[in-house]
């Protein structure tokens, strides 16, 4: 049975037709809407590569059926920069070398943005590490990621 749903993705409304209810939010974003910045690393909620914001909260989009988010506001990695101006978290990831291959990076950045809005910008590295531990980086760019997160917090709290 075909289904239709509406998602507002990065501020743009998308009316989406599906043949049935099976597609995940991740596959809809990647295969149907054509936003391939969000990555699939496991398709099981175990790696965080697919992290996006749904109504401001970070979720693993591979674990969500698109149908169940009809009407939601979705933010993906393509929607966080302001035109040419990078989001402070994006800029911090580049400057602190918070990645190698870059495959986990969209998920790391979305997760960090989500975490900061959950937590405010409490400056506790241990809490940060814990809060970001749903995002695996197999390249193990963790030293750079930690520095990027701390730097991003500083930028976000306007201390820069």
């Amino acid at each position: 049975m075909t289904r239709s749903l509406t998602l507002t993705i990065n501020g743009t409304k998308h009316d989406i037709e599906l043949e049935d209810a099976r597609p995940t939010l991740l596959d809809v974003l990647r295969e149907r809407v054509g936003l391939t910045g969000t990555k699939k690393g496991c398709d099981r909620g175990q790696c965080g590569a697919c992290t996006v914001l749904v109504d401001g909260r970070r979720i693993n989009s591979c674990l969500a059926l698109a149908m169940s988010h009809d009407g939601a506001e979705i933010t993906t990695i393509e929607g966080v920069a302001d035109g040419e101006t990078l989001h402070p978290v994006q800029a911090a990831f580049i400057e602190n070398d918070g990645f190698q291959c870059g495959y986990c990076t969209p998920g790391q950045i979305m997760s960090a943005i989500g975490l900061f809005s959950e937590n405010g910008t409490a400056n506790d590295p241990e809490q940060l590490r814990e809060g970001m531990s749903g995002n695996i980086c197999r390249c193990a760019a963790y030293a750079g990621i930690t520095e990027a997160l701390l730097d991003a917090q500083t930028r976000l709290s306007g201390k820069e």
């Binding site: 043949e19 099976r22 597609p23 596959d27 990647r30 295969e31 054509g34 936003l35 391939t36 910045g37 969000t38 990555k39 699939k40 690393g41 496991c42 398709d43 099981r44 175990q46 790696c47 590569a49 993906t76 990695i77 393509e78 920069a81 990078l86 994006q90 800029a91 990831f93 580049i94 400057e95 070398d97 990645f99 190698q100 291959c101 870059g102 495959y103 986990c104 990076t105 969209p106 950045i109 590295p125 241990e126 940060l128 590490r129 814990e130 970001m132 531990s133 749903g134 995002n135 695996i136 980086c137 197999r138 390249c139 193990a140 760019a141 963790y142 030293a143 750079g144 990621i145 930690t146």
Partner: protein, 758 residues
């Protein structure tokens, strides 16, 4: 290409780009989601492929419900051994390097769990997935042979792809007779799976007999040759695009059965086909690190000098191919010993075939050797670092050759100072932190080969002032986009951010393999030479042009920088490339370059990167949960092109070492042979919370022999030494000597109980 310039051996002056900690050239693309990974492509008419994998480890597939799959809406085609097209060459042939025997539905035999047994093509991923499920296979199963106890042992002809399985230096029996002390340890290492974050993926599309592929690949030139051979087409007809790899770690140097199935299927149905492995499928046909059972025996004189070093490794492989981990060879190049014996035996089990995983051989080998060396130091009641210095190898123990460069002493010293090694108690179980955690410190020596692969590159300088450079090389995260561009820019005499730069495409000059920690040295040398060649041509034009301020300056007399040539004796006298070419009416000059190692140097010297890793662990005194609270590594790897990226490689490598020591373990069910933790929840790799502090130090080293530019590699060495350093720190905290990796809480508890019983 006899007249292609090769950068001369010795001391080559690089420009000002190299040595700088530039941020990644592709950084913006990666943080905005714009970097184009293979799976992000969507050609018109794309079909999704999903393969069904075997649920048994040995036997036959006797039925597949193809009708049910085909009846599912959206399913277009089902490929099984009944109707699968064949390759042009037997899948058991290995026509080019980095080939492995593979499964392309050539028959209904099953030789390991996870082997592809059918392929379903459908209009959507969901339909293909459901189609594969509907195939509901039935099997005739034979008992699986899994684990050290159930495999078939054999004496191999070689390890890895052609290394002799055994070597002896000196007279081990004679040395043993002189020994005052003997230490022997046995250490097991498990199957480990690469698990790059980006699973293996291919998008294949045919146009007549021309094939275009989007596929992450570490060895584009070799992949293209292999694909052409297996598919029976001209290599010129294969276009392979791989601008970004989502990690490789060795597994993306090889093209496996699943990718060939997608290529065959695309040809069969005449539409583009996309196949992405599911994470659980990454534990089968796409290689892994062999499990090993290693025994290291060290015989010592009364002062603690090593007299005899005997390292044996039993390594697992598949039932149908021959890759074996060369773990024991680690003992050939690290510590001085008058007699060394290394040997390997093989064990055939019903898994896919193993292959090279980041730091092949040396990661596993040092994981055992460093534990034995630590035990030997303790036997002598010597500080583990002092013991290593006492047995420092001034020449390569395995070959007797001098090292091209070896700043390991400096690595020990700088690492120890930074870590604060001084004052470490000799006895285990002496340190507790403020929270009562058992605390231990350990050290390990790191080593990795410094190979060099012939590579080619080209560069261009145009009359409009623009310049560019190209090679087919690959960036799997190590930083090739950036570091290689820096070297090309130095060849071209331009700032790196002002050159056009291209890699990751089979249409470019063959930049060789991104592997063996040799890519920066190999492809980078070629790019530097290509850039220099282009500049040389521009200089020649200028020096022969009476209107040029450089007229008659002579070869040694000009220098390039900032897109301009000037006289060495008077930098004010010069002109830009654009001015020179425009006046000469030449639209562009193209430079060619090759990277090569001098044959005489390769014969004369042993070439390695070296390092020392220091680890601190904290262990819960009741639960015995281990945390690595600090890792400090100091590494000497010749000339460093980009310190920021080099440190990231070294830090990442050390975290892989941590992962080896404490996390990773591919577990197969002993009865069914199936992997039971084939996902990222069960197969543990470190997350941010596991890595509170990791730090690498770049130790200055000048290597005049490794290659003209003195570059070695940093991509793999970080793992080596780290595994042992952590195991040794665990011992230092608890007094329990780990006998297997990953180190389990259970082992420490049992070890502690055994200790209490005396």
């Amino acid at each position: 290409m006899a007249d292609t310039p090769i950068a001369p051996a010795g001391h080559v002056r690089l420009g000002s780009n190299s040595g700088q900690s530039m941020t990644r050239r592709e950084g913006v693309a990666k943080v905005t989601g714009k970097a184009n990974y293979a799976a992000d492509n969507k050609p018109e008419g794309l079909l999704h492929a999903v393969y069904l994998e075997s649920g048994i480890a040995r036997g036959k597939v006797i039925s597949l419900n193809t009708e049910a799959a085909l009846a599912h809406p959206g399913v277009v085609h089902v490929m099984t051994p009944e109707n699968a097209p064949s390759l042009a060459v037997s899948p058991d042939e290995k026509p080019v390097p980095f080939s492995a025997r593979m499964e392309v539905l050539q028959d209904n035999r099953v030789r390991y769990a996870g082997q592809p047994i059918a392929l379903v093509l459908a209009e959507t991923l969901e339909a293909a997935t459901e189609g594969a499920r509907l195939l509901a296979p039935e099997y005739e199963a034979e008992p699986a042979r899994i684990g050290f106890e159930n495999g078939e042992a054999y004496d191999p002809e070689f390890v890895t792809t052609g290394t002799p399985p055994a070597r002896q230096v000196g007279d081990i029996d004679a040395e043993r007779k002189k020994a005052a002390h003997t230490v022997e340890v046995t250490v097991d290492t498990p199957l480990q799976y690469h698990n790059a974050m980006e699973p293996h993926v291919i998008i294949a599309q045919w146009d007549g007999d021309k094939l275009t592929i989007d596929m992450p690949n570490q060895a584009i030139g070799l992949a293209r040759a292999g694909i052409a051979t297996y598919l029976g087409i001209d290599p010129e007809n294969v276009t392979l695009r791989s601008p970004y790899l989502g990690g490789g770690f060795g597994s993306k140097a090889v093209v496996f059965g699943p990718q060939y199935l997608a290529m065959l299927a695309a040809r069969e149905v005449g539409r583009p086909v996309k196949l992405v492995l599911r994470r659980d499928q990454m534990f089968g046909p796409v290689q892994h690190r062999s499990a090993t059972r290693q025994t290291v025996r060290i015989d010592l004189d009364k002062d603690g000098r090593i007299l005899a070093l005997d390292h044996h490794s039993l390594s697992t492989t598949s039932s149908f191919d021959d890759w074996l981990e060369s773990a024991a060879n680690a003992s050939l190049s690290i510590y001085a010993s008058p007699a060394i014996k290394v040997s390997h035996t093989g064990l055939r089990v019903d898994t896919g075939t193993p292959g090279a995983v980041r730091a092949p051989g040396l990661a596993s080998g040092t994981a055992a050797l460093e534990v034995a060396v630590d035990a030997a130091a303790y036997r002598m009641k010597q500080d583990p670092l002092d013991f290593r210095l006492l047995n420092y190898a001034e020449t390569d123990p395995g070959t007797g050759k001098p090292f091209s460069a070896k700043a390991l002493r400096e690595c020990y010293a700088e690492g120890a100072a930074r870590f604060g090694w001084k004052g470490r108690p000799l006895e285990p179980g002496q340190m507790r932190d403020a929270d009562g955690y058992l605390t231990g410190w350990g050290v390990g020596t790191a080593l990795f080969h410094a190979p060099f692969f012939p590579a080619k590159a080209s560069a261009v300088i145009r009359s409009d002032g623009s310049v560019g450079a190209q090679t087919s090389g690959a960036d799997m995260g190590q930083g090739a986009w950036t570091a290689l561009a820096q070297m090309a820019a130095d060849g071209l005499g331009m700032p790196a951010d002002e050159i056009e730069f291209e890699i990751g495409h089979s249409g470019l000059p063959d930049g060789s393999v991104a592997g063996g920690s040799a890519h920066t040295a190999s492809a980078g040398s070629a790019l530097f030479a290509a850039g220099s060649d282009a500049v040389r041509q521009v200089a020649e034009i200028a020096m022969n042009d009476p209107e040029s301020p450089l007229y008659g300056a002579g070869n040694e007399g000009v220098r390039a920088s900032g897109g301009r040539l000037h006289r060495v004796d008077d930098p004010a006298r010069g002109e830009t490339y654009a001015e020179i070419l425009t006046r000469a009416g030449i639209a562009e000059v193209e430079g060619q370059g090759r990277g090569r190692r001098e044959k005489s140097a390769a014969e004369q010297y042993a070439m390695y990167s070296h390092g020392a890793v220091f680890a601190e662990v904290k262990i819960d005194p009741d639960l015995y949960q281990v945390r690595v609270s600090r890792l400090v590594g100091a590494f000497a790897a010749g000339r460093i092109i980009n310190p920021r990226l080099a440190k990231s490689q070294l830090n990442g490598g050390m975290i892989w070492g941590l992962s080896f020591a404490l996390h990773e373990e591919g577990i197969h069910d002993l009865r069914s042979g199936r992997p039971i933790n084939n996902d990222l929840a069960g197969y543990h790799v470190p997350v941010l919370a596991d890595v509170p502090s990791v730090e690498s130090i770049l130790v200055e080293e000048h290597d005049p022999h490794a290659n003209a530019l003195g570059i070695k590699g940093v991509g793999e060495i970080g793992i080596t030494g780290t595994v042992g350093a952590i195991a040794n720190a665990v011992w230092h905290a608890t007094g329990v000597r780990p006998q297997r990796y990953p180190i389990h809480i259970k082992d420490l508890l049992e070890g502690e109980l055994a200790r209490q019983r005396g």
